[in-house]
């Protein structure tokens, strides 16, 4: 469980200007949860991500991971190992010239014995369906493949939590699907807790809970249905409601009997042709 209690963080631009990137956020991320954080550029979502594993420490309030406080220097490495981070640009996250060496980098630094490293590398690469590429050079892979290698590198450290900051922003549709499917499966089958940051509403549909951020604050929190029903709020924050949800709402306005929280194409087909 990751707990945030009244967490605030601000950047000092210069002597006068201060940006309150995160303000008074309290949130409990349960074990096994798939939480999606949405908000437009500059809403504070990336700052929040970095607070989750102690890359940033809160100015006010407290962040704890399985009861370890991120500001406790003695827990520093343990927390980093428990909470793995994946960023937007896969090219900035891969360092070795061979895929398996890249995946081994994390556990090597943790001092894992060599024989176990080998088995962890194999396991992590199969978890992201990239085992057959173990001897390839990362820079020759597609964006989606690179991002899955970056995820494997994190998995090799056996984290309980995976925090992904716009992991699909630089990928094409196929790469985006690969990464989404991989992470969904890790959550479902391996029980890894996922915090997924995005501004693609369609990616939020599969979450257990969605949190909407605006000006560093929590503007909404709930299941995708609960959140996407709040069309006016989302539009006032310049966020889109998923297009299928919006279509349902518009048809309801036209007098047809459709709920305000239809999420997927399949659901819509079932409503229209029962």
């Amino acid at each position: 469980m990751i707990q945030l209690q009244d967490v605030s963080y601000s950047y000092q631009l210069d002597e006068e200007q201060v940006i309150n990137a995160v303000s008074d956020i309290s949130l409990t991320i349960e074990k096994g949860e798939f939480l999606v954080i949405i908000g437009h550029n500059g809403s504070g979502k990336s700052t929040l991500a970095k607070l989750l594993n102690g890359l940033l420490l809160p100015d006010k309030g407290m962040v704890s991971v399985d009861s370890m406080c991120t500001s406790d220097p003695e827990k520093y490495w343990q927390i980093r190992q428990q909470v793995g981070m994946v960023f937007q640009n896969p090219d900035n996250q891969l360092i070795a010239t061979i895929v398996e060496e890249d995946v081994a980098f994390g556990p090597e630094n943790l001092g894992v014995p060599p024989a176990e490293i080998v088995s962890r590398v194999e396991e992590s690469l199969s978890q992201v369906a990239m085992l057959e590429y173990r001897h390839h050079a990362p820079h020759l892979l597609s964006g989606g493949q690179k991002q899955r290698i970056a995820i494997a590198g994190i998995l090799a450290m056996r984290p309980q939590y995976l925090v992904l900051d716009e992991p699909t922003a630089m990928l094409d549709p196929q790469g985006r699907r690969e990464v989404m499917d991989t992470v969904s499966r890790l959550n479902r089958e391996e029980g890894i807790t996922v915090v997924w940051i995005t501004h693609h509403m369609e990616e939020a549909i599969r979450a257990h809970r969605v949190m909407v951020m605006e000006h560093g604050r929590m503007a909404a929190l709930g299941t995708p249905r609960e959140v996407f029903r709040q069309t006016e709020l989302l539009q006032s924050l310049h966020l889109d409601v998923p297009v299928i949800t919006r279509l349902g709402q518009l048809l309801a306005q036209d007098g047809f009997n459709l709920p305000a929280d239809v999420l997927t194409v399949e659901e819509m087909v079932n409503h229209l042709c029962p």
């Binding site: 631009l13 437009h40 550029n41 500059g42 937007q88 597609s142 964006g143 716009e166 922003a169 630089m170 094409d172 549709p173 196929q174 790469g175 985006r176 699907r177 501004h199 509403m201 369609e202 310049h238 966020l239 889109d240 998923p242 297009v243 299928i244 919006r246 279509l247 518009l250 048809l251 036209d254 047809f256 009997n257 459709l258 194409v265 399949e266 819509m268 087909v269 409503h271 229209l272 042709c273 029962p274």
Partner: protein
């Protein structure tokens, strides 16, 4: 005629074990003032194609004419590059000057324009992308938000007043609001200046509303082309070549598969709302 390619072929690393045919006998014509959406998945050849349009790459075989200039090994790049502006993916990575005005003016200084004209073009280019000149001219480009940096980088190319403007994934990584706003600005610039606009994207959703014609690339070839409606109605084909079919299109195709008579070329929410509403009212009964 703006661009004519005949059997345009490009081979990377020929005569090596890594040889790849990135473009395979591409034939296409783009008229002056057209707005083209070029879509395809990563590795389909779309970036290779547009890099030929301003002479960054030269054809391995076949011919290419751009604004009356034949792009060959010996082509004089200067006039070509003045006619064809190419904005790369993540152009903000190429910002480097100490302030916004200097950054936009960089290309103009290089071609030796007088100072008054530079100033005028910089103002126009920034306003065309929705950046207020007075407010931003002295700011460091590195203090701007991602969306603002993107706009400034695009303004640098616009200021060169190209006849053909090509943008490679101009909205990648931007939030929906910024995305829409940037595309609207580009559409206006295109209208005002009558330029040929080519937008490379893997997101059809974004560009469908603003382009006259979509070219779909797959494996180095033009796999399909037509109006956005014509392309969208071929959902299965798009999916087969690894492209995303927008959710609305998926819905329309799924309903049609159930025998419901809806037009296949529905592009946006309002069209879908109207068409489904008509169907629900006409005989379908109450849902």
């Amino acid at each position: 005629m703006s661009i004519i390619a005949v059997n345009l072929t490009h081979v990377y690393s020929p005569d090596t074990p890594w040889t790849t045919k990135a473009l395979d006998q591409v034939n296409l014509e783009i008229q002056d003032g057209e707005v083209i959406g070029l879509i395809g998945h990563t590795g389909s050849g779309k970036s290779t194609l547009v890099q030929h349009f301003n002479g960054l790459l030269k054809p391995t075989a076949g011919t290419l004419h751009v604004q009356g200039i034949e792009v060959t090994k010996g082509v004089n790049l200067r006039p070509l590059r003045q006619k064809v502006g190419l904005v790369f993916q993540y152009p903000e990575h190429q910002l480097f000057e100490e302030n916004v005005a200097l950054d936009v003016a960089f290309g103009l200084k290089n071609i030796g324009l007088p100072r008054e004209e530079i100033q005028q073009r910089v103002e126009q280019a920034l306003s065309a992308v929705g950046i207020d000149y007075q407010r931003f001219k002295d700011r460091s480009p590195f203090e701007l938000s991602g969306g603002q940096m993107r706009r400034v980088a695009i303004a640098g190319v616009l200021a060169m007043e190209p006849e053909v403007l090509i943008l490679d994934e101009p909205t990648a990584g931007l939030d929906p609001h910024t995305r829409k706003d940037l595309l609207e600005h580009l559409r206006l610039v295109q209208k005002e200046r009558g330029i040929t606009l080519i937008i490379v994207s893997h997101s059809m959703d974004d560009i469908a509303a603003m382009v006259n014609r979509i070219l779909v690339m797959d494996k180095g070839k033009i796999a399909a082309q037509g109006s956005p409606g014509e392309i969208f109605s071929q959902g299965e084909k798009l999916r087969r070549i690894g492209l995303d079919v927008p959710p609305l299109t998926q819905l329309i195709l799924a309903l049609r598969a159930r025998g419901i008579d809806l037009p296949a070329d529905i592009l946006d929410l309002e069209e879908a709302r109207a068409a489904i509403g008509r169907w629900l009212r006409g005989g379908k009964g109450n849902v």
